[in-house]
Symmetry: C2
Subunit: 334 residues, 2 copies
DNA sequence: ATCTTTAACGTAAACGTTTACGTTAAATGC
DNA sequence: GCATTTAACGTAAACGTTTACGTTAAAGAT
């Protein structure tokens, strides 16, 4: 009982071709028939069937977004940006929660393929070879967000993790800190783990500060990692006056653990985070952190997808600037 | 250059009907031809076109989720639950960020209609008449999540806001508090505003405590509302020993404002939140709050959509139990 | 007055499937 | 040994569009 283009054609006494032309406003009809058809469309409440359209036009006006952690605040902001420009382009987004599982990722990739989506943004994970192969076979634009590929020629949008970590560390140093600990992602993580450690080390070295192995604890990026990491770190490096946390969640974990141990932030310990999530300003004390323009990055990633779709060729990667946002978790040492 | 069912039919020396039957494993072919066809499919890397399928089967294996605030942590958890079961059902979800704007909502609804989605979960907003009308015309299952409709017969999954607020208030009272303030959503908000105020009032009344108008401040549900609201509240109700915040974000705002004013939580002021978001355990001090089983609710909402799809009839609404989770932002008054 | 262009359509094929129906040959029943 | 059932397919219509191409009549050019 759904109303098709035939129904309006019949009622308006024209052919379906004419109706189609009018709906897509391509040339080929008079003002009067346009009026008539538009009116019939209104009366009947006709809406074109996107499936039939997509079958011919090879455009579904849908893009896929692959995220490892759907409920992380980082992802929320990315998705928010992506959704915004996607909607502006008249498309919609299917979110695919991969849980960092290869199987679920591949499964979703197949689903996206069958759904004939127009493009993909692949977020915060390393692009494995088989993922790349599947997407390449789909022959649609893809861009990486907050990750990059060293093996495949895929445009990405990121912040420079190394430089951002360098900045954070340098900020601490300039505030007079010398004994600086770090809680980071694992070294095996070549996207968000090792580079931030490298940046930290580089800054220390640049200011002629040596760092011992026990000054760095490698855990994950979430709250629990922060509290666990802090316990480990304070144990093996009690002289520490400041910590660089590789994510805001980790920083909150540190804040929380410190609070329970009666260590006052920032008076006894300075903490700097990474990301500038919304919670960074909600914490007590408000968290000083190095900001990534998350929403902007999400937006840009989607824009690049559409740009590639329209131009039919690849596009330059973007390194977004980071920025220290000063709040109240870091104290200047005199 | 995409590979269609025809290609595999030709290469396997069978008709497309047979290939179709095999792909959808419906009866009507021998073991040998199945082997053969499956092998050809493998060789060619054939994947059925979902659009063509959907055009006939009237199933797109896609559902739409409408959320007012995509980056809010509440929504993240809902979406997380929805995505999970949707994926289990072999479908995917399109997220639609309405920004609480009627126009964008309507726009998205049209898009979803054209995309021929199989179902809708509508989240945390009041279901206006025209929304309802559009969705009803689409003739697909819809369920409301964290909202309900008093005007239209749409199944919903919620917590009882009134009871939950009652519980929170009662908890405070049982801890010895008598002078209890509240920062709530606006009274005009008949879903999450007024009911929680009602619950608060009811609990106070049940314990024979009077509450004055100045004890309740009505703002919104986010962090800034919490800090602003607290300033207002502490100003007009300085004797207050405890606050009930209508959301965890608001509670964090209170914590933050109190910290800056050197009011110690929980020693000088007790705070209880609402929602039990992940940040509730990340705050300092960790937040005592009334928990909604957010992910479970998200899951259930999706399950109901699929149940309605399969059974082709409506379904009972669900009121989920809430629960006080005790952490460290409330002090027992002696 | 004739030819050419152009506007305003209509016809029908195509997009890639599913599925009702028809066909054939083998298997079964007696 | 013949009629009847059944397994194993193939044919073609349908799903709801877009679009290349053809057609008609009016307008413009010469």
């Amino acid at each position: 009982m759904t109303i098709t283009i035939k129904d309006v054609a019949k009622k308006a006494n024209v052919s379906i071709a004419t109706v189609s032309r009018i709906v897509n406003n391509k040339p080929g009809y008079s003002k009067e028939t346009e009026q008539k058809v538009l009116q019939v469309i209104q009366e009947l409440g006709y809406h074109p069937n996107g499936l039939a359209r997509g079958l011919i036009s090879k455009r579904t006006h849908t893009i896929g977004v692959l995220v490892p952690e759907i409920s992380s605040m980082l992802m929320s902001e990315f998705i928010s940006g992506i959704e915004h420009v996607t909607h502006d382009y008249g498309s919609s987004v299917i979110v695919c929660h991969t849980e960092s599982q290869g199987q679920k990722t591949r499964q979703y990739l197949q689903v996206l393929k069958e759904k004939q989506i127009d493009g993909i943004v692949f977020t915060s994970e390393v692009l494995k070879k088989d993922y790349y192969q599947i997407i390449k076979d789909m022959d649609i634009p893809m861009v990486l967000l907050s990750t990059e590929s060293f093996d495949f020629p895929v445009p990405y949008v990121k912040v420079s993790d190394r430089r951002a970590a360098y900045s954070a560390t340098e900020y601490l140093i300039k505030k007079g800190h010398r004994k600086i600990g770090m809680i980071s992602g694992r070294r095996g993580d070549i996207i968000a783990g090792q580079p931030r450690i490298d940046g930290f080390m580089a800054a220390m070295k640049a200011y002629e500060l040596s760092v011992k192995d026990e000054w760095i604890v490698t855990e994950g990026f979430n709250f629990e990692d922060g509290v666990n990491g802090f316990h480990k770190l304070i144990d093996q490096f009690p002289e520490m006056t400041a910590v660089f946390a590789a994510s805001d969640e980790v920083a909150l974990g540190i804040l929380s653990a410190a609070y329970k141990m009666n260590i006052h932030v920032p008076d006894q310990l300075s903490v700097i985070g990474y990301d500038n999530l919304r919670i960074a300003e909600m914490s007590t004390p408000p968290l000083t952190t190095v900001a990534q323009p998350l929403v902007e990055m999400g937006k840009k990633s989607a824009e690049l997808v559409f740009e590639m779709m329209e131009s039919n060729r690849s596009v330059e990667s973007r390194i977004f600037p980071h920025e220290i946002v000063e709040r109240q978790s870091v104290k200047e040492l005199s």
